[in-house]
């Protein structure tokens, strides 16, 4: 338990009228990671970010950021949040926007915020309403980083940016996060956006957690098998002792994404080809097969109540 925990959810759930937008979410995010929150539209990503930022009140469970429950207003100074549409006051100048950050945040770092703005050649006296999308995102980043958060939460940060601005701002994000050891959690429904930036993955589908863990721990447990089907089904050696996440049988051939359990995980050996799947293949496998058991690696598993006590 030497590693600090940036975020810990226990049975977190949110019910809107009759439907659960988020259900039984339990995981932990170690500090210092850059975490991708991935899932199809409507998976509960925004609801989860809302719960983490005190904008949504959870129906069940608890959520702690650096040990502070989100029900405590003290948690507000721990994180910075960048909503999807990057809301800023349009009639404020850039300088006034930064001043707002200074007036409302005790740990405000004016020099850092100004540096981020200047690096984008944005004049401080420009009205926010006159800036381009990329420039506005940069100002929003400056506001978020100036707060000196321990945890930075971003909802689809790159969605509305052109490729150039996307490249520039993801570079800025990673550099600032690395410099200050900020834990980052950002959502997207396109994994490819985040694959290069992130070393931790949270996958939501239908309001439930499907995968959580370090990306390099998630992948090696999986294998993509291709071989001859036995009587139109998977060979028994494949199913025995392994979790089949997803499989397809076409004619006499099968393809299966399998996961090996246990510490010394061994992949089924037999008359078939074994390939290492890419992150996206694994992700899609889990998203396509809601019945497959979720995969939560040890690093992402919340401590039991016994441990916590």
């Amino acid at each position: 338990m030497s590693e600090a925990i940036a975020m810990e959810a226990r049975e977190l759930g949110k019910k809107y009228r009759r439907d659960w937008a988020l259900r039984d979410l339990s995981f932990r995010l170690p500090a210092g990671r850059v975490c991708a929150l991935v899932g199809p539209n409507g998976a509960g990503k925004s609801t989860f970010l809302g719960a983490a930022t005190r904008l949504v009140r959870p129906t069940t469970g608890t959520l702690e950021l650096f040990g502070v429950p989100v029900t405590d207003p003290a948690v507000l100074s721990r994180f910075a949040f960048l909503a999807q549409d990057k809301p800023l006051y349009k009639r404020f100048t850039v300088a006034e926007t930064l001043r707002m950050g200074r007036e409302l945040n005790p740990r405000w770092d004016q020099a850092a915020a100004e540096r981020i703005v200047r690096a984008g050649d944005i004049p401080l006296d420009a009205k926010v309403g006159t800036l381009s999308g990329g420039q506005r995102t940069r100002v929003a980043f400056a506001l978020a980083f100036g707060k000196r958060p321990q945890l930075l939460l971003l909802d689809e940060p790159m969605a509305d940016l052109d490729p150039l601005a996307r490249h520039e701002l993801s570079g800025l994000l990673l550099a600032e996060a690395a410099e200050h050891g900020t834990t980052v959690l950002m959502s997207s429904h396109v994994l490819a956006d985040l694959e290069e930036m992130c070393d931790f993955l949270l996958v939501l589908a239908g309001g439930r957690l499907r995968m959580a863990g370090d990306t390099d721990a998630l992948l090696p447990a999986h294998a993509l098998l291709t071989g001859a089907a036995e009587d139109g089904a998977l060979p028994r050696e494949v199913t025995d002792g392994h979790t089949v996440v997803e499989h397809r049988v076409t004619g006499r051939q099968f393809t299966a994404l399998v996961r090996s359990e246990g510490p010394r995980a061994e992949l089924p050996d037999g008359p078939w080809e074994t390939a290492v799947p890419g992150l996206e293949e694994v992700l899609l496998g889990y998203l396509r097969s809601p019945e497959a058991p979720s995969l939560i690696t040890a690093a992402a598993r919340p401590s039991t109540h016994l441990e916590a006590a």
Partner: protein, 321 residues
């Protein structure tokens, strides 16, 4: 130690007296606050400017209803211009109150403001409190200024009618209470509707409704005095400064009949004696009742304002905006 080596950030020195949430709320509503301040200064200056002339008139002729026609010739326009002030509470509700939270919701900035390091309770307190304070200060100054212009000539202005016209609504505590009530109404409506323009329209409707309700409420705020005289004479006289509210014909056994009951009869006296009418009764509000009526009306509005503000605070604390 780093202060010696770090170049001072360019905007760190720009300050002014306002800080924290106060600064944010001021900056967001700067136009409205400055406009309100300008209106306040102009109205106060206007009232003080004309006060000298009004006092001269009173010194020359007296605060006497017999000279009200003469006064009206000289000062009608001066006072007519001020009567537009009766719209100030509605304007505050529509242009200051309604967009206050609805604007933040419409542009998503509420998520920006409530995820800084200040708690939502403090945010809502500043967001609602400062505009209400601005409305309070401004309307108090305006009311005091107008009241000092009107009160020396209260028998002359509007022919001495302090109840029926706008004078009741723009003197004493009434304009202040109306402004606070309609501003908080606008804020609450905006918060529920979440859109600026529909919120402004609904606030206008609420302001119109309030104005209609005030017209009915005014005369219910206290019990009118009554004066009774014999039926054979004219209706009994009431003080010059009083407002005639209603007139009745009374029978010996205490029934009240409309004052026009026998007007069309060929022989009024015969008609009255046939019906057993022995009294002529006048109900009126005297000028010394005005302050009590105003404070009672303002009290009702302020209680409603407090309820609305409590509702806004509870709602924003419990629900996502």
């Amino acid at each position: 130690m780093s202060t010696l080596t770090d170049p001072r950030p360019a905007t760190a020195r720009s300050g002014g007296p306002l800080h924290g949430l106060t600064w944010l709320v001021w900056r967001r509503n700067r136009t409205a606050f400055l406009l309100l301040a300008a209106v306040t200064v102009v109205v106060c200056g206007y009232c003080l400017y004309y006060r000298a002339g009004v006092l001269d008139f009173v010194a020359q002729y007296g605060n006497d209803i017999r000279y009200s026609e003469k006064f009206d010739k000289a000062y009608k326009e001066v006072f007519d211009r001020i009567y537009v002030l009766s719209n100030l509470p509605a304007l505050l509700g529509i242009f200051l109150g309604a967009p206050l939270i609805a604007g933040e919701q419409e542009h998503g900035t509420v998520r920006l403001a409530t995820t800084q390091s200040v708690s939502r309770t403090r945010w809502i307190a500043a967001t609602v409190g400062l505009p209400l304070l601005a409305a309070l200060v401004s309307t108090t100054l305006i009311s005091v200024a107008f009241t000092t212009l009107w009160s020396p000539a209260n028998q002359l202005v509007n022919y001495g009618d302090w109840l029926g016209g706008t004078i009741f609504d723009i003197t004493g505590p009434v304009p202040v209470a109306l402004a606070l009530f309609l501003t908080s109404c606008g804020i609450a409506v905006g918060m529920l509707v979440r859109r600026v323009v529909p919120a402004m329209v609904l606030t206008l409707i609420a302001a119109t409704g309030t104005s209609i309700a005030m017209d009915r409420l005014r005369t219910a705020l206290t019990t009118p005095h009554t004066v009774t005289g014999p039926a054979s004479h004219d209706f009994p006289a009431i003080p010059d400064s009083a407002i005639n509210y209603d007139q009745w014909l009374g029978t010996a056994d205490g029934r009240l009949l409309g004052w026009g009951t026998c007007v069309d009869a060929k022989n009024e006296a015969a008609c009255q004696s046939d019906l057993g009418i022995v009294h002529k009764i006048v109900e009126y509000f005297s000028l010394d009742q005005m302050a009590g009526m105003q404070w009672r009306g303002a009290g009702i509005l302020l209680v409603l304002t407090a309820l609305i503000v409590a509702f806004i605070v509870q709602w924003t604390r419990r629900r996502p905006l």
